[in-house]
């Protein structure tokens, strides 16, 4: 390559750090096939009973459905609000844009425990605690900045003359949006929606504060199953989430690297 060779010690250190990043998490996979009622690692006997429990025990299936519901509401709200906001931002003057962007992105830098605290106290007064909608609304505030970032990144790569051209050819503002802006911004909008869903699906602190017996999300049930009442089903839930996340990322990275290799060969 450009004359830069990694020294052997650097390679070894990197491999060790890579193992530190991955291996501790991967132990949840063998754990989930354990037959034991305690968290013994490595397991001595194997079974599928925790997967069976994950997909048949009503508390777990309810939690999965609740999380999907909250995630979908969050993704919808955050994507609609965030996309409109990103398109709006692009139309502002530079100074105002900086201020408004700072405000829109502020939930990223605030610790989740603080967001949980302020939303809990406000929702307690408004009677919104213990409802899935309340959790979804709080998650929307949390996910909004990520949608704004994803869509803005996409819009920045876009030629503004395209929109001007469309309107100078007589298109109304809404059809400019529908036929020019939106299709071009779509990859950003989609990745924003995925981000918003994942952020909501994995969020535990706010959901813990706002939970009620009828509004328990999957992360909250996982948290409770090691703190309140030991339930080894958490190992099946954990390994499922690890696999659901790892496989697509791994595939996308490998495909991306292959494509990169091919382009270089040409």
């Amino acid at each position: 390559m450009s004359g830069a060779r990694a020294r052997p010690w650097l390679k070894i250190v990197s491999v060790l750090i890579g193992l530190f990043l991955t291996v501790p998490t991967l132990i949840v996979v063998p754990m989930s096939f354990s037959a034991s009622d305690t968290f013994t690692f490595p397991p001595r006997q194997w079974s599928m009973k925790w997967y069976e429990s994950l997909f048949t025990a009503p508390q777990w299936t309810d939690a999965i459905l609740n999380s999907l519901e909250v995630g979908l509401i969050t993704a919808t709200l955050a994507t609609v609000l965030g996309t409109a906001a990103a398109i709006g931002l692009a139309r502002l003057g530079e100074r105002v844009r900086g201020l408004v962007t700072g405000f829109l992105l502020s939930p990223i830098i605030i610790p989740n425990i603080l967001i949980a605290l302020v939303i809990f106290s406000a929702f307690l007064r408004a009677g919104l605690t213990g409802s899935l909608l309340g959790i979804a609304l709080a998650h929307t505030a949390l996910a909004l900045p990520y949608v704004v970032i994803a869509v803005t990144a996409r819009l920045q790569g876009m030629d503004p003359a395209l929109q001007t051209a469309a309107s100078s050819l007589g298109a109304r503002p809404f059809s400019v949006f529908r036929k020019v802006t939106l299709p071009l911004a779509l990859p950003g909008v989609l990745s924003g929606a995925v981000l918003a869903f994942v952020i909501s699906f994995d969020e535990v602190v706010i959901a813990l504060f706002l939970q009620s017996p009828t509004a328990v999300t999957l992360p909250v049930l996982m948290f409770n199953s090691v703190t309140v009442q030991i339930d080894p089903t958490i190992s099946a839930a954990s390994s499922l989430t690890v696999l659901v996340v790892s496989v697509p990322i791994l595939l996308a990275q490998v495909i991306g690297a292959r494509r990169g290799n091919k382009e270089r060969q040409r």
């Binding site: 830069a4 250190v13 990197s14 750090i17 890579g18 530190f20 990043l21 991955t22 501790p24 132990i27 949840v28 754990m31 690692f41 609000l81 409109a84 906001a85 709006g88 139309r91 502002l92 003057g93 408004v100 405000f103 829109l104 502020s106 830098i109 610790p111 603080l114 605290l117 302020v118 939303i119 809990f120 106290s121 406000a122 929307t140 900045p145 990520y146 970032i149 994803a150 990144a153 003359a161 001007t164 051209a165 503002p173 989609l190 994995d202 602190v205 813990l208 504060f209 992360p219 996982m222 090691v226 703190t227 954990s238 989430t241 996340v245 790892s246 990322i249 791994l250 990275q253 991306g256």
Partner: protein
């Protein structure tokens, strides 16, 4: 330029018949801005309702509940307990940050040297924990650190058998370092990948040794990434709840646990709110300092961090368009 030209040309055209007249009051640029504000309005209202107003009301609570004045804040520093918790939290956050820098730096540097395939693997190794459920990762550490667990067994081999890990600050620190490491690597990588490696060769050709050209050329150039990653991890570590709640114990609680107990269980929004506000001030101070140090706007840095997230998002959506 061209856009402006077209817009002004458009402005000189006669207005269309069906357009209401009042629109002509605004210049085209002004109209564009007004439309922009209108599009922003829903998001601004939502954020104000679900974030800003609650935050303001907590700040108000912290100085009025149970009685007007700064008694909640005075208590933070005088009840002895809170100050110990704050001190412990700061130490843990600092150790996690320092350990994170030491681990992330060589790894990220290796990422910039590796070939495309190796680099793809290394990026995946960072992204997978970044996206994996927080609970799953902390649960894994619980299993490893428990009595009779793997880590205790390994310590037994070096003559430290029977050391209790679960419930200690040590277990919390190790796990938090691992859980937060991706947040260190991603901002570092976005800076390091832009450094021109020919500068190193230039340094060496001018007579510097490999080590000193790294120390005097590469390292200073990589510092903005280090500061960005370190301040992000420090701030996240300050407010971390899940790891200390699962791997720590009430006897050595961190501030997030105390906030949770005060508000969720005791409904003491004045006291809990004061702690929260204090934490917010420390967070903002750290971010402002890091912004000073790197000379980057916080929005730009958040944008970088967001870029990491967006890359990951595209990876998940399977649309890796490079």
């Amino acid at each position: 330029m061209t856009a402006d030209a077209i817009t002004s040309e458009q402005a000189t055209r006669p207005p269309r018949q069906n357009r209401p007249d009042r629109r002509r009051v605004l210049s085209p640029a002004g109209r564009k801005r007004a439309a922009g504000l209108l599009l922003l309005l829903p998001a601004l209202i939502a954020l104000t309702m679900f974030f800003v107003l609650p935050l303001v009301s907590i700040v108000v609570d912290s100085v009025t509940d149970p009685e007007p004045g700064l008694s909640n804040y005075a208590q933070l520093f005088t009840d002895g307990y809170t100050l110990r918790v704050l001190g412990r939290t700061l130490v843990v956050a600092l150790v996690v940050t320092a350990a994170g820098v030491l681990l992330a730096y060589p790894y990220t540097y290796m990422m910039t040297l590796a070939g495309p395939t190796t680099r793809a693997v290394m990026v995946t190794v960072v992204l997978v924990p970044f996206w994996t459920s927080m609970l799953a990762r902390n649960f894994a550490w619980m299993v490893l650190m428990q009595d009779g667990g793997v880590v205790q067994g390994a310590l037994g081999l070096v003559g430290l058998g029977g050391t209790r890990l679960l419930g200690t600050t040590f277990a919390v620190t190790v796990s938090m370092t691992q859980v937060l490491l991706p947040f260190m690597v991603l901002p570092m990588y976005s800076v390091m990948q832009q450094i021109d490696r020919r500068l190193l060769l230039a340094g060496q050709s001018l007579g510097a040794s490999r080590l000193s050209s790294f120390r005097k050329v590469y390292f200073p150039l990589s510092l903005p990434g280090v500061v960005a990653g370190a301040s992000l991890v420090f701030v996240l570590a300050l407010g971390f709840y899940v790891t200390p709640a699962l791997l720590g114990s009430p006897q050595n609680a961190l501030i997030a646990q105390v906030i949770s107990v005060r508000t969720r269980e005791l409904l003491d929004f004045g006291g809990g709110g004061a702690m929260g506000v204090f934490m917010l001030i420390v967070t903002l101070a750290v971010l402002a300092a890091s912004r000073r140090l790197t000379g980057l706007g916080s929005a730009a840095r958040v944008g970088q961090m967001g870029a990491g997230q967006a890359v990951a998002g595209q990876a998940v959506a399977g649309r890796n368009e490079r």
